[in-house]
Amino acid sequence: MFKKEPNRLPLPNITPDGKRMFISLIILAVLLIATGIVMPSMISISRFSSITNGQLTVLLASLGQTLVLLIGGIDLSVGGVICIINSLAAVAMPESGLGIILFCLGCVAIGLAIGGFNGFIVTKFNVQPFIVTFTVNYILLGISQLILGRDGGAPAKAFTKVLMASFGPVSLGVILVVFIIVMWTLLRRTKFIRDVFAVGTNAKASAMNGINVVKVKLIAFAISGGCAALAGLWRTAQLGSGSPTAGNALTTPTLTIAVIGGTSMMGGIGGMYGTVVGAYILRIISDLLTFLGTKSFWSTVFQGIFLVATVVVCSVIDRKNRSK
């Protein structure tokens, strides 16, 4: 029976994704303990700051990826967007303060436009997101090569300096991660995000309940493009140079991170807290493997195994939830 004063959880819809995130937190804890044992010097705030700065590129892109996964789509063009923005920033960024700000806004606008284009093709012509974003990614890679022939170039000095700023041992990256968590907490309280979950779970029922499914999907894809553009900008500041192929190897990790963080590839389950945790998990795994002296390709093998294991565990949890 329905109790008068139900014990409400602080977050809406914690049930399935809450459990999934719990798993990723446990994995993170285990990995941290392992790190603490084999290389205790790694456990420090400054080390955390540097890891955060390093992972923020892929994390930013993963946030958009997570949103697209939540609506039941997939965005394979995030790598291409990172390439374009990184190349552009390395060759065309002005030196003046106002110029830098306007340039960055322009980059985000480009990302939003590319994502919006993905969403438009997906919704208007009812094409599989996989195919649309996969092919758009090729276009983006080509354009990146046109902008920047080979690795090189340099962004404005002030741009790098500001983004790589540090407050004591705490880097700006860490502050941004905190900002991301706060933002997601707020966003969870908007109608848009609630609609995202509904659309990702059952688009037809959502439409029957008055939700504009096309709009929700379009916005999700656009935001993913915007997030990837931010990732491209961060990558530029972090490495101080451009590469037309910078994002190539980043698309798959965005999926890995989202899924390790508990977001379902089937849509409707997951969230950004998990994605943040997932980004750290991925990094710690590769650090641990490097420390243990394994060759770098082993890192990829383990990441893959890890991804499969997570997907299996989540799938088992889902089945249990359903059969209840």
């Binding site: 908007t190 979950f197 059952n202």
Partner: protein, 495 residues
């Protein structure tokens, strides 16, 4: 013993008993008419025979030997052919390829297309078909031809029993005539034919015997002409449990809240009606006569031409959000796929259609949302541990209540209710009926479709009966009887 017998067939889907110890028998040369209301068990019986559904118990015998009907393939090998209502043609293949598609693959690969065309042409000559080209692609043909191909497909190989499940619904008159001649010819050759149709005239004309199903079992077998149309209708209807309906009262006012004029689309052939404040307007008829299309058009979920006026204002229903904004809410046919987002919580589902009401300064006001949700849960007595439980964990009746709660929270002036009592227990039914009356007492209106004629007679101010995409009858006051609804449902005129 008869040549073909189905004995003691039972089949349950969860708590729903689709078939209860049902029998069916026929002899060589019989054209058996299988009759019954929606949910009487006709389709399930045929699906069991065709190997599509596995029966819980019972046996099937043909010429004294048990029939292997464990899979569709096995049933076909045993000489049973079924023409289902739904088309199952490969649309990108030719007519000839479709006709011989059931042939074993081994032999199929050796035949050239030309050979198939020749064989199809031979078959056409044998069964008097002269308006089909074997090499035509199915996706270039109209629906009526497709249904004809579906029938020819069943005749391509030797068989003993042929079942035609609503096979005439899409045929032209000429093709229907062709089919009846063919059926008589086949019967004369000693085949056993089973004919299911909602058109009583057709059944009376072609069938040599009829069998009536009701509540999952056979209730009457009769020879041709033994029963009048009235008697058949009475047998189909039977006597049903009643007594959980609220007392009928007239809450109808003169104000027209919904004016519908000449709505048409692929399924609807010109629907017009007025819905008044305080009125419960019933829509009856067998399922599949356009009720789904009508409700979806009114709710903005299907395309249409024609005019819809809500409260005197002309409104174009382009999307469910438009309907909701104009105070029209729908309790849809498919609860699991259209009404609810099953994995989401009770709370999230209840507030789904009215979420924007709870947005304050860009953020959702959880407190207001929770309060509203709690109130609906209490008002409709939805049984759930907490509002955070995923809806999928609730019982069918409670899930339906969540759909209702969601639509009521959107505070609609007009409730479109599509077969809301399907798979719902008696107690919940009573609560839903009371709710409908309370809704009308507030001067709001209900458009109520039900496959259960009893519900319509007890609840409605007047009833429209749908037949082939249009209103066949408009029953008022004393005319609203189960007999009249059933008669109009099968294309007869009301008394």
């Amino acid at each position: 013993m008869a040549d073909f017998e189905m004995r003691g067939i039972s089949k349950s889907f969860g708590n729903v008993h689709a078939l209860v110890d049902a029998d069916f028998s026929a002899n060589k040369g019989d054209i058996m008419g299988l009759l019954g209301e929606n949910g009487a068990g006709k389709s399930t019986l045929i699906k069991v025979l065709a190997g599509v559904v596995k029966a819980d118990s019972g046996e099937v015998e043909l010429f004294g030997k048990p029939v292997d009907h464990t899979t569709p393939k096995a049933a076909m090998r045993a000489g049973i052919r079924v023409v289902h209502q739904e088309l199952s043609l490969v649309r990108s293949a030719t007519v000839a390829e479709n006709i011989f598609i059931t042939e074993d693959e081994k032999t199929f690969t050796r035949k050239t297309l030309k050979d198939l065309n020749k064989r199809a042409q031979e078959l056409f000559e044998k069964i008097d078909v002269d308006d089909l080209d074997p090499s035509a692609y199915v996706n270039t043909l109209p629906l009526a031809s497709c249904q004809k191909i579906e029938i020819i497909k069943a005749l391509a190989f030797d068989f003993d029993v042929l079942v035609l499940d609503e096979a005439t619904s899409a045929l032209t008159e000429k093709d229907a005539e062709w089919l009846f001649n063919l059926m008589e010819k086949l019967a004369a050759q000693g085949k056993i034919l089973i004919f299911i149709s909602h058109r009583l005239q057709e059944v009376n004309r072609i069938c040599t015997r009829i069998i009536v199903y009701r509540n999952g079992t056979d209730v009457k077998v009769a020879d041709k002409g033994e029963l009048s149309t009235d008697e058949i209708v009475t047998e189909m209807l039977g006597r049903k449990m009643s007594g959980y309906y609220p007392e009928k009262e007239n809450l109808m006012q003169d104000t027209v809240v919904l004016h519908v004029e000449d709505i048409r689309n692929e399924t609807l052939n010109g629907i017009s009606f007025d819905l008044h404040a305080g009125e419960i307007l019933g829509v009856g008829g067998l399922s599949g006569q356009g009720q789904t299309a009508l409700f979806e058009a009114l709710y903005g979920a299907a395309k249409y031409t024609g005019a819809i006026e809500v409260g005197g204002k002309k409104t174009r229903m382009t999307h469910p959000s438009v309907a909701l904004a104009n105070g029209i809410a729908l309790v849809p046919e498919d609860r699991a796929n259209q009404g609810l987002v099953l994995p989401l919580s009770v709370k999230e589902n209840i507030s789904l259609a009215s979420l924007s009401e709870f947005v304050k300064g860009g953020l959702l006001n959880f407190k207001a949302e929770n309060a509203a949700v709690d109130e609906m849960i209490k008002e409709l007595q939805i049984k759930t541990d907490t509002p955070e439980v995923p809806v999928v964990n609730l019982s069918g009746g409670n899930q339906q209540k969540v759909v209702l709660a969601k639509q009521l929270l959107a505070k609609p002036d007009i409730l479109l209710m599509y077969d809301i009592t399907r798979g719902v227990d008696v107690g919940t039914k009573r609560e839903m009926f009371n709710l409908m009356v309370e809704h009308c007492r507030k001067g709001k209106a209900v458009l109520f479709f039900s496959t259960d004629t009893e519900e319509l007679t007890h609840m409605c101010n007047s009833v429209y009966v749908m037949y082939e995409g249009r209103f066949k009858a408009h029953l008022k006051d004393d005319e609203i009887t189960a007999e009249n609804i059933i008669r109009a449902s099968v294309g007869e005129s009301a008394v």
